[in-house]
């Protein structure tokens, strides 16, 4: 699914160069649930942006489903983001004054076939909301939803194009413990039921434990990469 080799990213800030990533190598098979931990500023988000085709590496190679996406032109990257990848952000990033349903429909406005017809858009968005258990809130605006519900809407939006890779950058950062676990349960279930590959960044150890594998970042490098056997068992509890 993901095959990253020697990934480096540098930022020019004033006269000095910031090395956000210094050569990251990582492979993840389809259906894996990778959690990424590490201190602030260690390059987790930078790595995820590259995985999500929002950014290109300064050097190194990134194969997504066997295709080298590190050199694709902008429009192609937009297509990959639309079809293959789903994003979940810490701050939800829902459009205000817009119903949950309309928020979920958003990616369907930018498909390869153009704007999906409104009936089909609605059906697919409802199906995605159903997957996160929010069909009864379809007409609610973000301001009328709790944080957990908002994040579930955001997950539904990420799912609506049926991507094979779901990326989440600290998805529980703004949520309390109970809701955090609800959200993580959804991720685990999506991986289990649909075989979606998951990459989730988190600060919290117990959240990281949902992964089948936890990767630890420090100063732009992976310092540990361990399978999480216990989680598999917990998952079947």
């Amino acid at each position: 699914m993901i095959d990253v080799h020697g990934l480096a990213k540098q930022y020019q800030v004033g006269d000095h160069v910031v090395h956000a990533l210094r050569g990251v190598t990582l492979s993840a098979a389809a259906g894996e649930f990778v959690t990424i931990v590490g201190p602030s500023g260690s390059g987790k988000s930078t790595f995820m942006h590259i995985l999500g085709c929002l950014d290109r590496p300064t050097s190194g190679r990134y194969l997504l489903n066997g295709r080298d996406v590190s050199t694709l032109p902008g429009d192609e990257l937009a297509r990959v983001r639309n079809e293959t990848i789903g994003f979940v952000f810490q701050g939800f990033n829902l459009l205000a004054r817009t119903s949950a349903l309309d928020n979920v429909e958003l990616p369907l406005l930018y498909t390869r076939q153009g704007v999906v017809k409104s009936d089909e858009r609605r059906n697919r968005a409802m199906a995605a909301l159903d997957a996160v258990g929010l069909t009864d809130r379809a007409d609610h605006h973000p301001s009328q939803l709790s944080g957990g519900q908002q994040q579930r809407v955001a997950i539904a939006r990420a799912l609506v194009t049926q991507p094979s890779l779901l990326l989440a950058d600290e998805p529980t950062g703004n949520l309390d413990t109970t809701t955090s676990h609800e959200v993580m349960e959804i991720f685990a279930r999506l991986r289990r039921d649909r075989g979606i590959t998951m990459v989730v960044i988190t600060h919290e150890r117990d959240i990281a434990a949902y992964g089948t594998r936890t990767v630890d970042f420090r100063d732009g490098l992976i310092v540990s990469d361990v399978p999480n056997v216990a989680r598999e068992m917990v998952g079947h509890r």
Binding site: H49, G52, L54, D55, G74, D75, A78, R79, R81, N82, E83, F87, F89, N93, L95, R97, T98, E105, L106, P107, L109, Y110, T111, V115, S118, R157, T161
Partner: protein
């Protein structure tokens, strides 16, 4: 329509514009004011131009008359030099003397005109009317008229045969002027109005029908004032003619009076005249130019054309006489009041210039006005456009995260570009729409309140609307491009 409103690009635009309702409203207002001003000004400009043109045309400034023969009459206006008498037994007076109010009567009769030639004098005998077929100098043909019609810049052409006739209704009779003319004549004589009925038709002209249109004076004298003669028969040259219409003057400047050439006259198809009098020639051809400033050129072209057609050698003189109304009006002295009013403010030393130059000056003045209005339009739309750019930039700034999000879920740069461009165009076309409505109402209001002629043409409406849309595209371009160039990561991180 509902489907269109639900289209995501449209729905997003509506939602986005709703966010800054006040700013959007003010910008729409700005564009609307610009467009309305443009439209109203264009209407006033076009109206002024049209009324000047109309006055010029009504005065006949765009008119050329080509008369058969090259004689110069003692009287400048031979058309007006119609002998007239209230009663056939009364002696006719020379109109020049009459006009000057001279007390000395000079006997004058149309048959005394030594210059008149008759190509078929026997017509009188055939018709049994001793006066039939008089006054037909004969060098021009219908084909000459057709050839002139094909010249560029020509508006209307009418061939004419003119006779002095006696019109009989039972025992009453009236000695007047007969014009055998073309169906086009009412278009040339803009100052005509129909008291009743109509002019003769092209069909009647083709068939040389015996129909006649009476001037008001003739109708009043024969039928009595207020009577409607349409449908009744009168006789000319012992032939019966059906009256189809009565004409009078449409302006207060000219009043029908006995002895005038227009309303103390009868009109019939020239074909009818040719048939009955057995004539093949035309007395004159009346030509109007599309533009009154074009008279000189057209006069030269007509002269050249007719000389070629009549086979006149280089050293021979013309066998026709070309008269322009401009020259005529100057020599008879004084301007028609309507024209004088229209031009007096534009031209100093009125008496030194010919009317044709005046017409040219007027056209130039209205062109200057048009440019001035275009400048005003440009300024107001520039201001409106800057407003659009401003609000679109504001929108881009406010919605940076939204842009980042759309990009993250698959929007391409061109999708973002299109969205913001569309929003700018929505503002400008909304302004354009309101502006057009307000502008049309304002134009009508100006016309009513100030008694100015205003002309709102579909073209000017389309132009104003199109310009508004173009302003949206032009001034929305930069903000839209800016939005599309955003880095999604930076955009998403923006608070």
């Amino acid at each position: 329509m509902r489907k269109l409103l639900r289209h995501p690009v449209v729905a997003t635009a509506i939602k986005a514009l709703g966010r800054n309702r006040l700013q959007t409203g003010l910008t729409v207002l700005g564009i609307a004011v610009g467009v309305a001003t443009v439209l109203a000004m264009m209407a006033v400009g076009a109206g002024a131009q049209r009324s000047i043109e109309q006055q010029v045309r009504a005065a006949g400034l765009n008119q050329i008359t080509i008369r058969a023969g090259n004689w110069r009459p003692k009287v400048e206006e031979s058309d007006e030099a119609i002998a007239h008498q209230g009663d056939a037994r009364e002696s006719l007076r020379h109109p020049l003397e009459r006009r000057r109010g001279d007390v000395m009567p000079i006997a004058f009769h149309p048959e005394d005109d030594p210059m008149e030639k008759h190509d078929h004098p026997t017509a009188r005998q055939r018709l049994g009317d001793l006066e039939a077929g008089l006054g037909s100098a004969a060098t021009m043909t219908f084909d000459d008229a057709e050839a002139i019609r094909r010249l560029p810049g020509v508006q209307y052409v009418a061939g004419g045969i003119h006779e002095n006739v006696r019109v009989h209704l039972d025992q009453k009779r009236w000695f007047t002027r007969m014009h055998g003319t073309d169906v086009m004549m009412p278009s040339i004589k803009r100052a005509w109005m129909f008291t009743s009925g109509r002019f003769f038709t092209a069909r009647e002209q083709d068939r040389a029908s015996q129909v006649v249109v009476l001037g008001q004076v003739v109708a009043d004298r024969l039928f009595g004032a207020g009577a409607n003669p349409v449908g009744q028969d009168v006789s000319l040259w012992n032939q019966s003619f059906e009256v189809v219409g009565v004409i009078t003057s449409a302006t207060w400047v000219v009043r029908p009076a006995p002895g005038d050439d227009q309303f103390d006259a009868v009109y019939m198809p020239y074909t009818t005249t040719q048939r009955l009098l057995n004539l093949s020639k035309l007395n004159d051809i009346t030509v109007t130019a599309e533009s009154s400033g074009d008279i000189s050129r057209l006069s030269r072209e007509i002269t050249r054309l007719l000389r070629v057609r009549h086979g006149i050698g280089d050293h021979e003189s013309d066998d026709f006489t070309l008269i322009t109304q401009a020259a005529r009006a100057l020599t008879t002295g004084g301007l028609p009041p309507s024209v004088a009013r229209a031009v007096a403010s534009n031209v100093a030393e009125l008496e030194k210039v010919t009317l044709e130059q005046l017409a040219l000056t007027m056209e130039r003045a209205s062109r200057t006005m048009t440019w001035l209005l275009a400048a005003i339009a440009a300024v107001s739309l520039l201001v409106g456009g800057i407003g659009i750019m401003n609000i679109t930039l504001l929108s881009v700034t406010e919605r940076t995260r939204e842009i980042g999000l759309r990009m993250a879920v698959g929007a391409r740069r061109r999708d973002v570009m299109r969205q913001f461009l569309f929003e700018a165009v929505v503002i400008s076309t909304a302004g354009g729409l309101i502006g057009v409505i307000v502008g049309v109402i304002a134009s009508i209001g100006i016309a009513r309140a100030l008694r100015w002629a205003t002309v709102v043409s579909p073209l000017s409406v389309m132009l104003a609307f199109g310009v508004a849309a173009a302003v949206g595209v032009f001034f929305g371009w930069y903000p839209a491009r800016r939005a599309s160039r955003l880095d999604p990561i930076v955009a998403l991180r923006r608070e």
